[in-house]
């Protein structure tokens, strides 16, 4: 049975699709995995969110945008609750979301928690989002935001970003 609260929750989740990652504007906060849940209670709406990286400065912007979006749709008394567990992982990203990233020019993350993170071990090859060559090299482990690394494609001689798998 679909209750009024369930329907309300679905409606709110729908509205929150409008909130994008400010650094990766093709992904919504839900696709990114940062939006975990919406709780509808008698007192109001609680949006449950989890940070990508511990110090990600975009989190504040995303929280503010969530509240502003709900206010625009006339939802009073909305608040954000931050949870740390389960820890955010790029494995939550759907294939559809990964395809959006690739189309935007950002190589999507591979499988998280792979052996790649063992010190001094070779990594799995990363495919260039432009020409699909796997003849690519890591230029910088860290990129313009906490969630990305910078790579270079030897095939099409194009630098590109990789969404880090964690």
């Amino acid at each position: 049975m679909v209750t009024i609260a369930d329907a309300r929750r679905e409606q709110i989740l729908d509205w929150l699709e409008e909130v994008k990652d400010p650094e990766v504007p093709v992904l919504s906060v839900r696709e990114l995995g940062v939006l975990r849940d919406v709780e509808v209670t008698g007192e109001g709406v609680v949006v449950v969110m989890t940070p990508t990286y511990s110090g990600c400065p975009a989190m504040h912007a995303m929280e503010a945008e969530v509240l502003a979006t709900l206010a625009r749709h006339g939802v009073p008394n909305a608040s954000v609750r931050t949870v740390y567990s389960p820890a955010w992982t790029t494995d939550w990203m759907s294939d559809e979301a990964k395809a959006k990233l690739a189309a935007y020019g950002i190589a999507p993350p591979g499988r998280a928690e792979s052996d790649d993170l063992v010190p001094l071990r070779r990594r799995a090859p990363v495919e260039c989002p432009y020409c699909h060559s796997v003849n690519t090299i890591v230029r910088s482990e860290f990129g313009s935001t906490a969630c990305k690394a910078i790579l270079y494609c030897n095939g099409c001689h194009q630098p590109f970003e990789l969404f880090k798998a964690i």
Binding site: P51, Y53, S54, G55, C56, P57, V83, Y84, S85, P86, A87, W88, T89, A112, E113, D116, L117, V118, P119, L120, R139, S140, E141, F142, G143, S144, A146, I150, K164, I166
Partner: protein, 295 residues
Amino acid sequence: MTSGKRETGDGKREEAGIGEPGTGNPAPDNGWVPGARPATATSGVAENSFFEYLLRLADDRLVLGHRLSEWCGHAPILEEDIALANIALDLIGQASMLLKLAGEVEGKGRTEDALAYFRDAIEFRNVQLVELPNGDFAVTIVRQFLFDAWDVLVLERLMGASNKTLAGIAAKALKEAKYHLRHTAEWVRMLGDGTAESHARAQRALDDLWPYAAELFLADEIDAQAVASGSGVDAEALRDRWRQTVDRVLSEATLVVPKDGFAPRGGRIGRHTEHLGRMLADMQSLARAHPGATW
């Protein structure tokens, strides 16, 4: 020190109890209270040992994160400038979560900002390793590598902490720490197995920093109580696995593992090198010049 003149963040409840009248102004939201004295004991024996334990975890990250941030705009290459700033951001973010939890555990109304910006050096509980000046790039990388190799072991265990918030923070931080370790291990190899100049600098950094790493594995009654409550790590038990990682990377880097000898200690109970006070003077200046300020 005259406590009446101290501008250290403290609890609102504490203020009335210790017989030091405040200024009569309402306390700003960050928990800063004019004229309040620090609640943290400097003897190492605190009334709230879990609070102390959380400060140790948090202060390692806060101080190391700030040290790394000093490289911003000064690193040898742009990619490393970005990398060091990113690692700094992760560590400061972790410190922020841990200090928030510490403030809740303490129960005196201190926020993460009050704990970060309104404690003096003697109240910090980080190991001395992380407060040392950055030196050259080799010193920064070797220090970070020695810390990261320890950090992943600590966080792996804290993921199972009985305190669920701490367990959640650890699970999150572990992902970041593994990424840091991969990066710094590769740099240690590149520097050690690089040119004669980079090798000499990396070896010198290792020789200088090695004695300080020993403090990471010291434990006292604060640690023991945290372990007993199910929310701590037996630091001494981490040494063997830490040595496995460190030895393997140093061997690939053609660096010689220094001999164990005299090892400075005391950071965990507030005894620090002269460097921490100077670092904090810089780190805390804005918050102390404008107490209660927010973005």
